[in-house]
């Protein structure tokens, strides 16, 4: 069981406090969704954990080891980051793209081991048949799947995904969600940011809600996505439909008046 412990994390941009005294502990084996209004600090939180941003103060520990003190390659091997709207600069083939995940492993694993990891990742995402296709010929949904394969090929302990479902149709959204959940079930950790409340309720085992850089809710979907919390955080009137059934739905009636 792996733990990502965040204590008293603060991130400043100029005068503004983007993250203000964040205390949260993520656990492996489950999918945690981070929600919140635009500008709440969700992306900043994930980027800080991935080592892309340097916080003003606070600690981020991975199983007791501070990620801020880790060498960047060592951290990259353990924590994978899928950014929002990822770019692919060159028309390379799918296999090469997935293979980029092994860059932090240079000098640590052999070429054979790298190739095996890539093959495994492509198999688990069912894209082996695309290995020679050029990435620019992929559709949006195919690209998303390929980029997930790229993340899996690094065989990290933790995946941080910033809005991995944005721009995907419902079928591809569920496809991506299934892959991430399967990854988490395998004993690793997944933390993702998301806007779709219903999807969050469906796939997340745990929900953390950020508002103005602070944690305002932390619990199961039922605990964290109550109408009262949704009203105070998003300013919307919402209710759960079919809460205990197979497919819970959070219906949004509209913006809260007053």
């Amino acid at each position: 069981m792996s733990q990502l412990t965040i204590r008293s994390l603060q991130f400043l941009r100029g005068e503004r406090r983007i993250l203000d005294d964040i205390n949260v502990c993520f656990e492996s084996g489950c999918v945690t969704a981070v929600l919140g209004p635009n500008g709440a600090g969700k992306s900043t939180l994930l980027a800080s954990i991935a080592g892309l941003l340097k916080p003003a103060s606070g600690t981020i520990d991975l199983d007791g080891q501070s990620t801020l003190a880790m060498h960047s390659s060592a951290r990259a091997r353990r924590i994978a980051f899928l950014p929002q709207s990822p770019e692919i600069a060159w028309p390379i083939d799918v296999e090469t793209l997935v293979g980029l995940a092994r860059i932090p492993f240079h000098g640590v694993t052999s070429a054979v081991e790298d190739g095996a990891a890539v093959a495994r990742a492509m198999a688990s995402t069912h894209i082996t048949q695309w290995s020679k296709r050029v990435v620019t010929t992929l559709s949006g949904g195919e690209r998303a799947r390929t980029l997930l394969a790229r993340i899996f090929a690094g065989e990290p302990e933790w995946i941080l995904a910033d809005e991995p479902f944005a721009g995907l149709d419902p079928s591809h959204q569920f496809e991506a969600a299934d892959l991430l959940c399967a990854f988490a079930r395998g004993g690793r950790g997944v933390v993702l940011t998301i806007h779709d409340l219903t999807l969050a309720a469906r796939i997340a085992d745990r929900i953390v809600i950020l508002q103005d850089g602070r944690v305002v809710a932390d619990g199961t979907p039922a605990e964290a996505l109550t109408p009262a919390i949704l009203r105070s955080v998003y300013g919307i009137d919402a209710e759960w439909l079919n809460p205990s059934g197979q497919a819970p739905l959070i219906a949004i009636h509209g913006r809260h008046a007053g």
Partner: protein
């Protein structure tokens, strides 16, 4: 992970090496004076002087500088994620020339043979730093090219001014020689100076190859793969600064090699940046040797500058490339 070269591309490096070897043989033999193929066995001091002191340095420099320019073009394209990038078009070569010329203007170039190339390297470094400053501000390809135009114009104006005002009486005639470089009449001394500097620069550049691959996923993606972009920036600036600065100091500005060669090789080896580096170097050597041979075969008393041939090939090429990439510009 070692770069998986597609089966199709595996023949490229050996083929290019054979090409360079063949062109080198031709380069040794071609010139105003007919040396004949048996020159290696029978030599009097005159043909030895031509062979060893004139043809050999010219051929060696063609290879070294061609390789350097090809490598720097491929590396810069990988870093900036843009196939239009090249030290010449982005103003780095012009800044290197300015650095070298200023050492003539301030009369320090004669103090030691390494002073002029060192000043060229400083100029190249400055050009690279300016480029990164601009690209670091998330500049689009259009902005980069415009900045190259501005840097290039500034440098050329500075070069013309410095050489016109230089105390050396022959400096004013050198302006065109700097702007359109040549391999004519270079000596083994030039080879001795250029080789170590370009070697160090090439090593620095090549050691960035994994970072260049990681940059395929963008700056955020690369950093999430553990790449220290700051360090890579400095390393690349140093590497390309050394390569371009030294080349320009020895021959003057020879443009478009770094633009044309990677573009020609991409369909064969693929677009992965690290895989392009070495083939672009070898291809660059072949390209420059070829151009220099053409220069010597053209009729006429004085030799045409190599930079002219390169521009005649490269400028239309650049234009065609621009056309095909119109949407990527903004």
């Amino acid at each position: 992970m070692t770069a998986p070269i597609t089966v199709k591309g595996r023949w490229l490096v050996p083929a290019l090496l054979v090409l360079v070897a063949a062109l080198a043989c031709v380069s040794i033999v071609v010139g105003k004076v007919n040396l004949g193929w048996d020159v290696w066995s029978h030599q009097d001091d005159v043909s030895r002087a031509i062979l060893v002191e004139l043809r050999l340095p010219r051929t060696l420099l063609g290879i070294i500088i061609g390789a350097a320019l090809g490598l720097s073009g491929a590396a810069l394209q990988g870093y900036l994620r843009n196939p239009l990038a090249e030290p010449g078009t982005l103003g780095v070569s012009s800044m290197a020339a300015l650095g070298a010329v200023l050492s003539i203007f301030f009369n320090v170039a004669g103090m030691h043979p390494f002073v002029l190339p060192a000043c060229g390297v400083l100029g190249g470094l400055l050009g690279m730093m300016f480029l990164f400053l601009l690209s670091g501000m998330a500049a689009s390809a259009l902005t980069l090219i415009l900045s190259g135009v501005i840097l290039g114009s500034l440098a050329i104006a500075g070069i013309s001014l410095a050489l016109s005002l230089s105390p050396s009486p022959w400096a004013a005639g050198e302006i065109i020689r700097w702007l359109l470089g040549a391999l004519t009449d270079r000596s083994l001394d030039d080879v001795t100076i250029a080789t170590p500097l370009i070697l160090v620069g090439s090593i620095a550049t090549l050691s960035c190859r994994r970072a260049l691959d990681a940059l395929t996923l963008g700056e955020v993606g690369a950093r999430s793969l553990g790449v220290d972009l700051n360090r890579v920036q400095w390393q690349l600036a140093l590497g390309i600064g050394l390569i371009v600065g030294t080349s320009v100091a020895v021959t003057g500005i020879v443009g478009f090699v770094g633009l044309v060669v990677p573009h020609l090789l991409r369909p064969i080896v693929g677009s992965r940046p690290s895989v392009l580096l070495i083939p672009s170097a070898i291809g660059g050597a072949a390209f420059v040797l070829c151009g220099d041979i053409i220069v010597r075969l053209l009729p006429g008393g004085t030799e045409l500058q190599l930079g002219v041939v390169m521009s005649l090939i490269g400028a239309p090429f650049f234009f065609a490339l621009l056309q095909s990439m119109r949407r990527k510009l903004t």
